[in-house]
Structure formats: C-alpha cells, structure tokens
C-alpha cells in the first residue's frame, strides 16, 4: 500500500525535487565538514545556516501552498503556526541551558528569574525532554489550527473574511506573546541557547546536521503533500477550491476536508518553525507580525501557487534576494518587495513555476497539434494551470 501511495504521489518533477533535496542534505554538510576552509568547494558554516533557514522558509511556503494553492484558503496567519512551532523548540532549548544561564538557576530560565518567578509555570513542564517538545511542535500549531478552523469552516467563513480573521488571530498572538506575564520571555523572546540533544548548537557539525534535517523534512513534506494532492481526496480539494458550493451539493463534507488540510498545513509550518529556531538562535514575538505571514504568501505567489515545487523555489528566490538586497541597498529592500507583490499579482499570477509549466504544456500541445491537425485549439484550452495543478 505504501509503495502504491509512493508511486501515485511521485510524478517526475516531485521525484526530481525530492532527490535533489536529499542530495543537498548529504552534499552540503559534507562539503562543509570534510573540506578544508581554503578548498574551492568549501561551504562556509554561515552559508550552511543561511540556506538551512531558507529551507525552513521553503517548508513554510509549501505548507501555505497546500491550503492556498489547493484549498483556496488564503491564510494570513501561517507565520503564527511557524512561530508556535519555533516557541515549542525554543522552550526545549531554554530548558537545556539549565544552570549555565547568567543567574545560574538550574530550573528556571533567566527571564523568569529576572521577573522574580519562583517556580516553573505548568506549561513549561515536560519541555526538558526532546520527544515531548518535538510532539508539541506539531501538536500546538495543529490544535490551534484545528480549533480555529473548526469554528471558521463550520460557519462557512471564507474568502477574504477568513484571511482577515487569520490575520486577527496572528495579531492577537503577537500581542499575547509580547506580554511578560505570559511566561514566554516577553518581547525579548527566547534566546542564548546552548545545546540541542547534547550537541553544542554553535558547532559546525550541529549546524550541518540541522541543515540536513531541514532538507530531509522538506523532502518528506514534499512527498506527503504531493501524496495528499494527488490522491482522490486532493482532487476533491481542488474541486472545492474552484467551486465550493457545487462540491458541497455533490455531497462532500467540505468543512471537514478544509479542516484536515488546514491542520496538516499548520503542523508542517510548526515543524518549519522548530527547525528555524536552532539555526537562527532566537525566537521572539516579532515572528507573529502580520506582515510576516503576508510575506510567506508572496513567496508562494512568486514561485507559483498550487505547484508544490513553486513555493520552495519562490521562498529561496525571495529570501536570497532579500539577503543580497538588504546587505547592498538596505533602503530599497521594501521597495523591491512591494514592487514584487504588485508585479507578480499583475503579470505573473501563476508564478515562475506555473508560467513555465504553462509554457511547456502549450509547446507540448502545439507539437501534438502539428502531428494531428485540427484538435490543437481545444487542447490549449484544456491545459489551463488549474488542470495542471490537479494532475
């Protein structure tokens, strides 16, 4: 059954992309650890961490693509799930510091000592164990998405209304996490991590391993989402994206399907956040900024929504551009990002990958038409990007 799932879920592009990611997961750490620093192929550690960060962003964009590209839910709160996963990981890393903090308290993180707290709040229990934290990384975002989605989809809040209330959700979380009383470090967030699973978090080996883990997680998520969207369930998802009422009238429980996709997507975002935090070394409430969630949307849009590969490419392209831009012309990054939003929506509504696919499909259809005259016009019409995405 698993093999049949795999066979079904892997078309050629997904297979190539997943294989590429696996190769990266081996190659980049190897080039970082095994070559001398002056070797021409040597990858410096900061680049490993930087690209590791991009891969977690790519995972976040992929998670958004599952709901936006295939389900029509434009979530403007996905960075919130990302940040929640990050906080769960951050809490584990905080507990790992133990007595090495500046106050030397073996149980309480520094900021709690600073706030004069006497004991650990109940929601911090268990985060000293990795398996528990790892569980929470998926459970907390998943649970919040489930509850939120259950309310929202049941009462048929959709379209822009849903976007606005997801934005309100992340805004409310932003305000909440800024409060010192919440017990998540207030506006300083969680930082100053020492080690993860016993390994020094600053060490080259750990960084390389985190990169490999990010690449693996991304490859795995790609296969899973591809499996979801290529299954029968995925076809119905696309149907409800394009004509929700009609799908409902056909007898599908639209709200359940949306809820499933939304929850899975939030869990993926949580995993992305958990991989992000040890690589950048900090998590703070700024991650909940509504602007961040909207930025995720543009990564997905640039790459091409509903293409799975597109969001990954988009996230890496936009963030790579951001890194270069903010270093070279810090003043102009927001102009560039803003312009990107406008230009992509106006001229590239299908994104880079979607447009390329469209072009390839056209050419294929054209060639087919050259062989059998007469049917070419119809063929072109049928290879609309939606049909492509659903394949």
């Amino acid at each position: 059954m698993i093999t049949s799932f795999l066979v079904k879920s892997l078309d050629r592009t997904i297979l190539i992309a997943a294989a590429l990611l696996l190769a990266l997961a081996v190659l980049v750490p190897a080039l970082n650890l095994l070559t001398a620093p002056d070797h021409p192929l040597h990858v410096p550690t900061y680049l490993v961490s930087l690209f590791g960060k991009y891969l977690t962003y790519a995972l976040l964009a992929l998670a958004l693509d599952l709901v936006w590209g295939f389900c029509g839910i434009l979530s403007l709160g996905h960075a919130a799930f990302f940040a929640l996963g990050g906080y769960a990981m951050g809490m584990y890393l905080m507990r790992q510091i133990g007595a090495r903090g500046s106050y030397g308290n073996p149980l309480l993180p520094d900021f709690m000592v600073f706030l004069n707290w006497k004991e650990l709040p109940w929601f911090w229990y268990g985060f000293d164990m990795f398996w528990f934290a790892a569980l929470m990384v998926v459970v907390v975002p998943g649970l919040i998405a489930f509850v939120f989605g259950w309310f929202a989809f049941r009462s048929r809040v959709n379209g822009v209304y849903l976007s606005i209330i997801t934005q309100a959700m992340t805004y409310a979380l932003l305000l909440a996490f800024f409060r010192n009383d919440m017990g998540f470090g207030g506006n300083n967030g969680l930082t100053d991590f020492k080690d993860i699973l016993g390994f020094n978090i600053q060490a080259d080996g750990t960084r390389a391993a985190l990169f490999a883990a990010s690449a693996l997680a991304l490859a795995l998520s790609l296969v899973v989402t591809s499996g979801i969207v290529r299954s029968k369930f995925g076809k119905v998802l696309v149907a409800l994206r394009d004509a929700e009422s009609r799908t409902r009238f056909l007898g599908y429980r639209v709200e359940h399907m949306k809820l499933f996709a939304f929850t899975v997507s939030a869990m993926m975002a949580g995993v992305a956040g958990a991989l992000y935090v040890p690589q950048v070394g900090i998590i703070n409430p700024g991650e909940f900024e509504p602007g961040n969630s909207i930025e995720v949307v543009i990564w997905t849009a640039v790459g091409g929504r509903g293409t799975l590969i597109g969001p990954i490419i988009g996230a890496i392209l936009v963030n790579g551009g951001k890194s270069i831009f903010t270093a070279a012309f810090p003043e102009f990054w927001l102009f560039a990002l803003g312009g990107l939003f406008v230009l992509v929506t106006l001229f590239l509504p299908k994104g880079v990958v979607g447009t390329a696919q469209q072009y390839l499909a056209r050419r294929k259809a054209h060639r087919a038409a050259e062989r059998q005259d007469g049917e070419s016009d119809k063929e072109q019409g049928a290879t609309a990007p939606e049909a492509m995405a659903a394949e």
Partner: protein, 537 residues
C-alpha cells in the same frame, strides 16, 4: 480661646488702622525680627503668629521666607527682604516697604528654611490671602486651604466666608471649611453637617479627607462618615463608568475615522485595500508639511493649520488612491485575494517612500490652541482634542452618508455595487465610478490622518497600527453598511475601554480580537448584513 484672641487682635488692628504710626508697626517688626533668631523647630509658631496679625505686609515677608530671600543683619538682628545683585544684596525694610540700600552678603545671615517651614508658609499665606481684595488671589488661596487642610486655619476660613461675595470662591470656601472642620476640635453636630456637605460635593479629595478622618473620629460620628464614604465611592464608580464610556467613545471615533474610508473601498466596492493605513499616514504627513510651511512663513495662521490640511490631505490621498485604482487595482477586479497582495505591496512601497523622505523617526505635529487643554464636566475630564475628533468623525460620517444617499454620484456608486452589469447597461460609466469611489475612500482616509495626527505619533508606521483594527470594525459592523461601521466602531471602542481596567490594555485588546473572531463564526456577515443575492457574489 482662639476666638477671643482673634477678636482682640481684630480690635487691635482696627485701632492700629485708625491710628497709624509706630505703635502699630513695632509689634510687627518684633515678630518679623523674631524670625531671624528662631530655630527651625520653632518656625511654625513664629509663622503662625505672623499670620495671625492679618496684616497685608506679612504677605511679602512670608513669600520671601518661602523663597529664601529673607536675611537677618548680623549687627542688630534686623530682618530684611533682599534681592541679589552681584555679590551684594539690596535690602528692603519689611515694615515700611522702603529700600534701605545695599549690604555685602557677609554682613547678613539667611533665615533658614526647610520643607516643613515652606509648608507652614504656604498654609499661612493661604489663609492670609483669603481676605485679599483680588478675586483670583482669593480663589487660589481657597484652593490651597482646601488641598492642605489645617485645623488652625479654620477661624480664618470662617471669617473669609462671612465676608465673601463671589459664588465660586464661596463654594470652595464652604468645602474648605467642612474639610477643616472635621479635623478640628469642634462639636460633633457641626462635624456631622460638615460630613454631609462633603458627601454632597463628593470628589476624590473629599473621599481621602473622610477616610483619613475616619480613624480619629468620634464613635458617634463614624457611621456618618462611613455612609458618606460609601456614597461618594458609589458616585465615583458611576463617574468612572462614565469616564470609561467617554474614553470608549473617543477610541470608537478614532476607529470610525480609520475604518470609514475602508467601509467604502472594502464595504462598498469589495476591494481589500491593505494600503488603507498608509493613506491615513499620508494624511498625517500632509498635516505635518502644512504645519512646517506655516511655522516658517505664516506663524499667525497656526490655528488654521488643520483646516488647511484637511482639504489638502483629501486631495493628496485621493490622488494617490486614484492612481492606485487606475494603475493596479482595476486589473484585479474579481480577484480579491490578489488585490490584497498587490495593495500590501503598495503599502510597503508607500511606507518606505515616506521613511526615505521624512526619516524613520516621529515627526512633530502640534495641536492648535483650540484643540489643546481640557475641561471638567462633573467628574469627567474632557480633553478638547478628543471632543473635536469625536465631532469630526461624526461629521465625516454624516457627510459620507449624505453623499451616498442623496447625490447622483452616490446613486451611481450604489447602483454599481448592487449590479455592475445592469448599471453599465443603464449608461453608468462603471470604471469611472470605481475609480472615483476608490479615490473617495482614500481621500477620507487622508482626512482621518489629519485628525489622528493630533493624538498619535506621526511616523511611517502610523498606518500599520490601524489596519487590522479598521478591518475588524468593518467586518464586525457588516460589510457594505455604513451604519454598521458606525455601530461597530463605537461598540468596539467602548467594549475595549471597559475590558481594560479588568484585563489590562493588551489583554483587553486580545479579548476583543478573540470576541470578534468568535462573533464572525456566529454571524459571518457582520452585525448588519446585506440581505439578498448580492451577498453570494
């Protein structure tokens, strides 16, 4: 005892006034000179003795004492009012009021003061000036004796009360008398009346006086005081609720201003304009520029700066809105999510542009004189700028309602909203109506920016603070319904301010957001939903 002494003193002063001369001045001089020899611990008595004379000449002496300008001559111990001039002091005789030349500092010793002495001076001055012929001085004196009640001053207050004609001063004096009476050693019956008077007047001071007096009071008086405290507390709670409503209305008016333009673009046209907040910001910066020009060239016009900025802001943001609609949004009709992204991009560009031009820091926008200050209304403190903003928000609302309901343009706008194709067939140029409607919504946001520049920091991030709130207001009130926006803005404002005392500002805001999210589950189309087929479009 006091009374007899005072009567004697008054009689004495009367005689002194009839027969002016050295005899009347001598005891005063003695009293003043005594200040020079007094120890700090005895100063209170000396000051009280001086105050008791009731002589207006005492006033400058006490003032000088309080300011540290009273010096005693080392040679004979005579005390002078002094004024510093270089290394010497110019001396003034306190009794005759004449200048008596200068003396080196070394020849004089300063009459020592500390905070205890200054306090005694203040309260003595308070009761002394109660009889001043100048009304404002009396008013000030009455306020000062009311704020720092002193049982010794009771007699003086009663005298002043007997002589006072001015209603406002009288009312203050009555309160001051009641306040001092309670801490004096008068009979219980009089105190009871005083408690009653305080209870009727209410206020925070009365509450603290009564609570302070409660411990020292007679057992027979205690129930009265307790009842009075309870009643004042109750009325204070009512006023506090009233104040909350006021704050809520004020917040509501801000929300209304921020959201009303959105109610047009989002509510009427269905465009998600994420750059709406930036229109507000542009309006605020227009105000800043207008004020800069006025400060530089026409300072006299400063009070008119807002009136000038208002139409300008409307034009500026309206033009930007028009350009946005023609340049970007019109290609995205029917794709609301894409519109959202594109306008978000525009908002980033506008923010960065303003940051590049004006810098990232807050810019100073001043309040015209008619917008600064506050006045008391019962137990409410009403600031003028908040009041004007509420009125302005309502005026904008009314104007917009009129425009939509009573003008040909409004008619066309509503027609296009309800059925675009039919409106088009009837000869309405729908693209133009779209463009103008969007410009109108943006222009109104700009006018809101002029008002909000008065109460918020004018920085490139100004708009971002409002965008989520304004969407909440529009969605809560019901899309496509101006009245819904009005009700939504004010109810959210008041709800927020009522949650604040219990939950704190941030948690209150979170609660409101959660409540709205839950509310939308219940009524996905808001408080006042449009009915009919248009909804499903």
């Amino acid at each position: 005892m006091h009374r007899i002494a005072r009567t004697l003193l008054l009689a004495f002063l009367l005689v002194a006034a009839i027969a002016p001369g050295l005899r009347a001045e001598e005891p005063l001089r003695e009293l003043i000179d005594a200040l020079g020899q007094a120890k700090l611990s005895d100063m209170d008595e000396h000051i009280a003795a001086l105050a008791k004379t009731g002589d207006p000449k005492v006033v400058p002496v006490l003032e000088a004492l309080g300011e540290g300008n009273l010096y005693a001559r080392k040679a004979d111990g005579q005390v002078f009012l002094t004024k510093e001039s270089g290394s010497t002091l110019s001396l003034t005789d306190p009794v005759s009021g004449e200048s008596v030349g200068e003396a080196p500092k070394a020849a004089l010793s300063k009459v020592k003061v500390n905070n205890g002495v200054r306090r005694a001076v203040r309260s003595a001055l308070g009761s002394l000036t109660l009889l001043s012929p100048d009304r404002d001085a009396r008013l000030k004196a009455a306020q000062s004796v009311l704020q720092s009640p002193n049982a010794e001053a009771l007699g003086a207050i009663e005298d002043a009360l007997a002589a006072e004609k001015d209603g406002e001063v009288r009312a203050l004096l009555e309160q001051a008398r009641a306040t001092t009476l309670i801490i004096s050693d008068r009979p219980v019956e009089e105190k009871r009346q005083a408690v009653r008077l305080l209870k009727e007047n209410g206020g925070r001071e009365a509450l603290s006086i009564l609570s302070a007096a409660l411990n020292a009071a007679d057992d027979s008086l205690k129930p009265d005081i307790e009842a009075a405290v309870a009643s004042i507390e109750q009325s204070q709670a009512l006023w506090a609720a009233g104040q909350n409503v006021w704050y809520g209305l004020s917040l509501g008016s801000v929300l209304l201003l921020a959201a009303i333009g959105l109610a047009i673009t989002f509510g009427v046209m269905g465009i998600i304009n994420m750059a709406h907040g930036e229109m507000v910001m542009l309006g605020a910066y227009t105000t800043f520029l207008v004020q800069e020009v006025i400060r530089d060239s026409l300072p006299g016009l400063f009070d008119w700066s807002l009136a000038i900025a208002l139409p300008l802001a409307f034009l500026v943001t309206g033009t930007v809105g028009l350009a946005m609609e023609r340049g970007v949004i019109r290609f995205l009709y029917g794709r609301p999510l894409e519109t959202l992204l594109a306008t978000w991009g525009i908002s980033l560009i506008l923010q960065q542009a303003v940051r590049t031009i004006f810098g990232p820091t807050n810019r100073e926008v001043g309040n015209p004189s008619w917008m600064s200050g506050a006045f008391e209304l019962g137990g409410l403190t009403v600031t003028w700028n908040r009041l004007w903003i509420i009125l302005f928000a309502l005026a904008v609302f009314a104007a917009l309602l009129f425009l939509l309901k009573k003008t040909p343009m409004g008619l066309q706008m509503r027609a296009v909203t309800q059925n675009r194709r039919m409106a088009s067939s009837m000869g309405i140029r729908t693209p133009w109506v779209d463009a103008l409607t969007f410009a109108l919504g943006s222009g109104i946001a700009g006018m809101a920016g002029v008002a909000l520049s008065q109460i918020d920091n004018v920085s490139p991030n100004l708009g971002q603070g409002y965008i989520i709130d304004s969407f909440m207001v529009v969605v809560f009130g019901g899309v496509g319904n101006l009245w819904g926006t009005l009700v939504g803005a004010f109810s959210l404002g008041i709800l927020n301010k009522f949650l604040e005392p219990y939950a704190g500002a941030v948690l209150g805001k979170i609660l409101v957001l959660v409540l709205i999210i839950l509310f939308i589950q219940k009524r996905p189309r808001g408080l006042f939903a449009l009915k009919g087929r248009a909804v499903e479009a």
